[in-house]
Amino acid sequence: MINVFMQHWQELLLGFGNTLLCSVIALFFSLVIGSAFAIFEVLPYKVLHIVGRVYIEVFRNIPLLVIGMFFYVVVPQFFVTLDGFTAGTIGLTLYTSAFIAETVRAGIQAVDDGQMEGARANGMTFMQAMWHIILPQAFRYVIPPLGNQFINLVKNSSVLAFVAGFDLMYQGDAIASTTFDTFNTYIVVGILYLIITLPLSYYMRYLEKKLA
């Protein structure tokens, strides 16, 4: 095991960095898109509500791998060329944004109605009240589930291996297929994933207990 790491630490660390990078990028954009669709769902417009619902249900019920492969295989064939990393990250972002939209919507709805009424009574517009009053409070409820979404994101980023995204899983697979030492290589890769996810998951558990 130590041999595998000593001989291939450069590739493994590159993969480790790429996994973290694509997870952070996907988290940022899916937070933006997810919050937008969550707000669609609480706005009093029927059309936006339906658009939000359709988006969320579509991306929640189709495997991430199918979405990622679509951007890697179909999009370059007919539209623009994308490298594996970009295609995978776009897929991850769309998939995760649907889950984040659900989380943020639950957070917004957990904020007491009186907050919105009070803000409106003070002369704020709906969007002002949303931005200054509701969202800051909603995000407090949403932090623990968002942390869990980030853990899922890191784990899900392993599908980049399918689209040549040079992430940790891809590098591990490449090393395993050149050295034939599959058993030890995958254990090393697993330990590297745990270095990211395990502390995060314990911290989220602690936060949940503290906020509850």
């Binding site: 991430l64 679509f70 295989v73 392993s158 599959t182 058993f183 995958y186 994933y193 996810t197 998951s201």
Partner: protein, 217 residues
Amino acid sequence: MSNLAEAYSWINLRYLLEGLWVTIEVSVISIVLSFICGSILGIIRYVRFPFLSAIVGVIIDLIRNLPLLLLLFFTYFGLPKIGIKMEPLSAAIAAMTVFESAMIAEIVRSGIQAVDTGQMEGARSVGMTYWQGLRVIVLPQAMKKMIPPLVSQFISLIKDTSLATIIVLPELLYRAQIIYGQNTRYMIPMFIALAVMYFVVCYALSLVASGLERRTS
């Protein structure tokens, strides 16, 4: 239009539907196995046996925080190195069951913990043993709280079976890849078919779940 008719010819469709059947087969077997294992592990975690519960807890945390894809690779490509060889079908089922059992164990444990402690105290004070209280009073109430997270776990299990395409399990995604590999004009029709088939199965399950939720609450 003739493109579409060609892409969705009966031969192709039948080939895809056979793949959907493999997907459902793997999902159902993994769901049943991981529900049984996960419930047992979750109860072990909750009851706090000395040593056993702590060890089970550590193993669950390790497995839950690894990507399923890694477990799949490890089962199919890694384990033969130490003499455990499996067919793609059994390797997929084994990897999914191990991963999902750990996820379900956490759902079961937190479901039981969400039941008010007064329920168990009440059961004990009317003369039930600990196990009677757990089985007759606490578990049925916990079950209600566990249904929504369990169903979303099962939905993600169905979606995750697509990962098994990498160990050449002939499921839905694998077969779609073979079809559009023969003719790139079939590419978009195949991705539409994939999206529709996965969506129908998963969305139907989530509708059943919300129906169940409404009936129990």
